[in-house]
Structure formats: structure tokens, C-alpha cells
Symmetry: C2
């Protein structure tokens, strides 16, 4: 082999198939198609209209004037001015109600889509979570927890999904920053897959799968983005999206609703810093984040471990992903983590 | 209750949770947010550049001039001019090779992404499958089958995914119509879920789940889009996307590669008519379609049933879908099917 060929061989990057430790799902890290982190920076920031004109008509700046339903939760500051409110969604994906009615059609099975669909709204029209201070983010987590606890024992509710869409291309139809809470009668396939995987891992290893991940990431360090006393933020080994980040409590806890007030401040810090690093280093891209916690269906899930997943919108699902459920990522999670770790916020 | 209220009550549409018969996954049919079929029509058709200038630089119109790799399959007409060619992808998501090498990192597991990634290219730059005649579409299915049979017994290949991205927003980076074939060492989570569900259904009912679906849809009729002697095209009961269509052989057959030449012409007709109905009635929207067939990992899958799924790009996955895997559709599959059934092609 000539020197030149050897060099080429050494520099040749192979595609990798990486397996998620919990679900067993695969992702492709297409290192041969890889881009440098800088190539992911978003240069088009015109999609969110934060002009004063837009704000004048904003549903969430002026909820009474624009006919929002009565809020189900309101937080106020020392001057008695509101800082955060939770509204029932005027166009809910699930209809309010407690009666689950099953129906059949031939071989098929269906039920009425009863549940709750609420919007968690912070006051400032122009400040996404990345730009809030730690205390304001802790207030958001407070609201998530308050509403979770209020809804978790309702008859029709077996799982509560809390998520946040940032920018239009991530599905945010209203530019004013807001999160959504959807309380539903079924346990979603993704949560089911995590629950089953965590159970299986525990049976084999007598140890929580997520604890094993958090411990390895801390020890190993190369995928860590941020860490404080109680939480670790890292790019997962089998990242599905470029610059994906998971935020996990270091101490085992299946249930988000049991997070202490002290822990909440640290969770808020980890979430805010992670989003700020994405915002600053990638030019404010669209993203989704969501919370995965044990179901509230009356059963115990001692081997689950609640966490937050942040998915920047850096890629498009095409035929391969839609058909297989295997995502192709064009940056190594280690390179993404290094880039985010070094980002100044 | 006043007359007015009664009317309102009667007209009130509830959200439905519908379950996929095979996988057990749920979808939400948000009838309360429903739109009329006409509201889904795409009015912006500027995204595909089919100008003569673009064609001059086209990789697939001029494969030799633009440095494509040597084709692995070529079909020609009576004048010996090519009509269809299959090229290895210059930028494969999987690296060619037969050796599967496993690696570990701490608690994690990975393997080298070996496999095959090929592009099936029809001649006409400006004619998508919807615009081809039945015989030309049958030639495309022929090429799928030829390449499938050639790769299915390779050492590194356990599953072969065949898919087609139409338009840029569905992931087609090259405007010239082409399908992709990806032969991989792992069985994808989506196929696994269908295999497990079909197996379970057979155990309970001593009948193929997909046969049960095809029989019910034919009998019931309201979700049928098109039918010929051998194939049925219908909007599935638990559609994940608006105007989703499944194409299924009426006769039980787990293995796409065993479809007869006679059946292939009818499959081609069902695929072409379905795509033409989407093209004509919805203003040429972006879509993906893909083929699900039994794995080629040396095992038998007698209870699977091969089929094609077409997913028009009518919605955006946001936080809820990404987090739960439950999709929210804003048109009833029955209304979508009626609209497509009536579309003239």
C-alpha cells in the first residue's frame, strides 16, 4: 500500500450503526457524509415574527382581548403582575372529558379521544426559554409539575406528555413562547418502548439503564455538554438528530412529579444552559423538547428514570426514516457535544 | 336542550383515537380540527426545478458526464436506448462490504454500517411515477425485484428497504425521479413491530392480520381508493398522515420478491393510479412511498404480508409526535378516501 493510499485509508470514515441502550433502536451515524459543526448553523432567522405589530395581535400577550379560555393556573410577581399562565387549548387535539368510550368497526378498535390539552405561557413575547434566567425557567418547570399533579389522577388520564415547539418549522403555530401539556388515555408507543427496555435491562443487570448511561457519560466525559450537582446534559451515544441533548437527574427517580424544589432549580439551569448553547452556537435553530416520565396509570414503574430530550430540527425525515424508524445523523455525537460544550453562554 | 343546542351537539365532532390492527400503535383523528379535503391542495409548485437548464446539469440525465458510478442494472428499449438504470449511491448511508464488525463502548453497542445503497432511475427527467404509463411503472417494480433478489443473500444483508422521495420537502435532493434501495444488516424497529403484531394476530385469530384488513376494506368499501383483480389501494383505518394510502396484494404473500410477472402489472397499475390521484387532486404534493416485506435474514415469516405505504407530506411532526410516536391527523380517512376515489385520472 502506498503512503498516499495509507493516508486515505486512515482518514476514511465508516458509517456506524449505534444502538440505543434502552429501546434497542438503531441509528446511523453517517460519518462519510459528515459535516463540520459550523455547517449546521442556521442563517435564516426571519421565520419568527417578533415585531411590535405582531405582538399587538398576540393571543398570549392579550389573552382576554383575543378570547382565550379562562386560565387554569396563574403565577404572579411581587407587583401582582402575571409572569406565567396556563390556558386550556382552544383547539385541543383531545376533547375534555372523563368517560372513555370504546368502539369497534369490523376488526378495528377505537376510542373517543378524551383528555386535556393545555398551554403553558411565559410572559415575554420575545424571550424563548434559552433567553430566560434560571429562576424563570424553574417557574416553567413548576407549572409543568403543578398541572401534572392536578391531572394525573383523572379517570381518563394514563399518560401526560409535556413538550415545547420552538419556531414554526418545529410546529409552533403561535410565535409567543409556550409549552404544551397533553393528558391522554393511552400510553404512547415511544414511552412503552422505553418502559419495556428499562425493565428488561434491569432484569439482566440489576441496575437502572438510565443510571448506567448517566454514570458512563460522566466518567467518559466526551459527550457531556453541561453538568451541575444534580443533573447531567449530554449528546446521547445513539443520537437521532444532530446536536440532540438529553437532560437527566443523576439520582434515580422514575417520577417527574416527585422532583424536589431544590432539584428543580438545577434542572432549570441544565435546561436553560443547554438551550442557550444551541441558540448561541447554531444561530437559533428550530427545536422540540419534551419530558419522558413514568405513566400515571396507577401502576408502579420503579425501573424508569425521567428525563428531558431536546431535538434540534437539523434534518428532514425522508423515505428511509419514515419506513424504518432508523434515523441517519450526519455528525458524530462526540463532535456535536464538543462544539456545544465549548459554546459560550 | 334547545333545538339550536341539539343541532350543535349533533354536529359536534369528537376526536378519535384509532388503533393500528397490526402494530397496536395509536393515531389521533382530530375531527374537531378537521379540514375539508380541498384545503389540503398544494398551491406552491415551484420547488422542483424542471427547467431545461437544470436538466443540462442533471446527474441522472447525463450519468457518464457527471461522474456517476457504473450502473449495476440497465433496461433498454427496442432501439437499445436506456429506459431505467440502477446506480450505486455516490454518497451511501451504508458502506459497501460484507463483514459485520461489532464494537462496544462502555455499556453501549455498535456495528460498522455495512450494506448497499442504490438508486433506481427512470429516464424521463420531468415524469414522476404518477405520470408514467402502467408498463413503465411495472419496469420500476421489476428493477426493485431484480436488485432485491441480487442482494438478499449477501452476508451483511438482513433487511432491504425500498423507498421513493418525491420533491425536496420529502427529502429528494435530486429532482430527477428516482427510488432508493438500502440493504442493511439490522431489522428496522418499524418492520419488527409489524412482524411481531402480525405473528400475535395470527396466534389469536389463525388468520393473517393484513388479509383481515384487506377483506374488511373490500367488504366495507368506504376507505377504498382503487381496486383491480389482484390489488387493493385504500386509506388505512388508523391513517398517520392525511391521504395516506396502502397498496396490498389481495392474495396472501409475505415476500415481495416472489410476486409474479402477471401480478406485477396489476401492482404497477394500483401504484400509478394511487399516485396520479394524489398528484391530480392535491396539486402534486410531496410524498414518500416505501415497500414493507419480510426480512431476508434466513428465517421464515409466513404470517407477514408485503405491501406499499404512500405518505403524502401534508403535516409536520411537532413535539407531540416526536415525543409519543402518536400522529395527529386532521382529516378522516373515510373523507380522504372518498375525495381520492372520485378524483379523475
Amino acid at each position: 500500500m502506498s503512503e498516499e493510499n495509507k493516508k486515505e485509508e486512515k482518514g476514511k470514515k465508516f458509517t456506524e450503526l449505534r444502538q440505543d441502550l434502552v429501546t434497542g433502536d438503531w441509528v446511523v451515524i453517517a460519518a462519510n457524509r459528515a459535516r463540520r459543526p459550523e455547517e449546521f448553523i442556521v442563517h435564516d432567522d426571519c421565520e419568527v415574527d417578533v415585531s411590535d405589530d405582531a405582538q399587538k395581535k398576540c393571543f398570549f400577550c392579550y389573552p382576554e382581548e383575543t378570547g382565550q379560555e379562562k386560565d387554569v393556573l396563574i403565577y404572579t410577581d411581587a407587583k401582582n403582575d402575571w409572569t406565567l399562565r396556563v390556558f386550556p387549548n382552544k383547539y385541543p387535539a383531545f376533547t375534555r372529558g372523563d368517560e372513555i368510550s370504546h368502539q369497534e368497526e369490523g376488526p378495528y378498535f377505537m376510542m373517543e379521544g378524551v383528555g386535556y390539552h393545555e398551554l403553558v405561557v411565559t410572559r415575554d413575547h420575545k424571550k424563548s426559554i434559552a433567553l430566560l434566567d434560571k429562576e424563570a425557567v424553574a417557574e416553567v418547570l413548576d407549572a409543568y409539575q403543578d398541572r401534572y399533579i392536578d391531572l394525573m389522577n383523572k379517570k381518563s388520564v394514563n399518560y401526560i406528555e409535556i413538550f415545547h415547539n420552538h419556531k414554526k418549522s418545529a410546529g409552533a403555530s403561535i410565535p409567543h413562547p409556550h409549552s404544551q401539556l397533553v393528558a391522554i388515555p393511552v400510553i404512547s408507543p415511544y414511552i412503552k418502548s422505553e418502559l419495556d427496555g428499562a425493565e428488561e435491562y434491569h432484569k439482566m443487570n440489576r441496575h437502572c439503564a438510565y443510571c448506567a448511561v448517566a454514570e458512563w457519560e460522566r466518567e467518559n466525559g466526551k459527550r457531556v455538554v453541561f453538568e451541575n450537582d444534580k443533573f447531567i446534559a449530554f449528546c446521547p451515544f445513539a443520537s437521532r438528530a444532530a446536536f440532540e441533548i438529553w437532560i437527566m437527574p443523576k439520582k434515580h427517580n422514575p417520577y417527574f412529579e416527585r422532583m424536589s424544589t431544590e432539584d428543580k432549580l438545577e434542572a432549570a439551569e441544565a435546561l436553560q444552559v443547554s438551550l442557550a448553547k444551541i441558540y448561541e452556537s447554531l444561530g437559533n435553530p428550530a427545536y422540540n423538547f419534551y419530558l419522558h416520565t413514568a405513566p400515571c396509570d396507577g401502576k408502579d414503574y420503579p425501573h424508569f428514570h425521567w428525563h428531558i430530550e431536546i431535538l434540534p430540527r437539523t434534518a428532514l425525515w425522508a423515505g428511509f426514516e419514515l419506513s424504518t424508524g432508523i434515523e441517519i445523523s450526519t455528525i458524530e455525537p462526540e463532535a456535536a457535544a464538543e462544539f456545544l460544550r465549548n459554546a459560550k453562554v
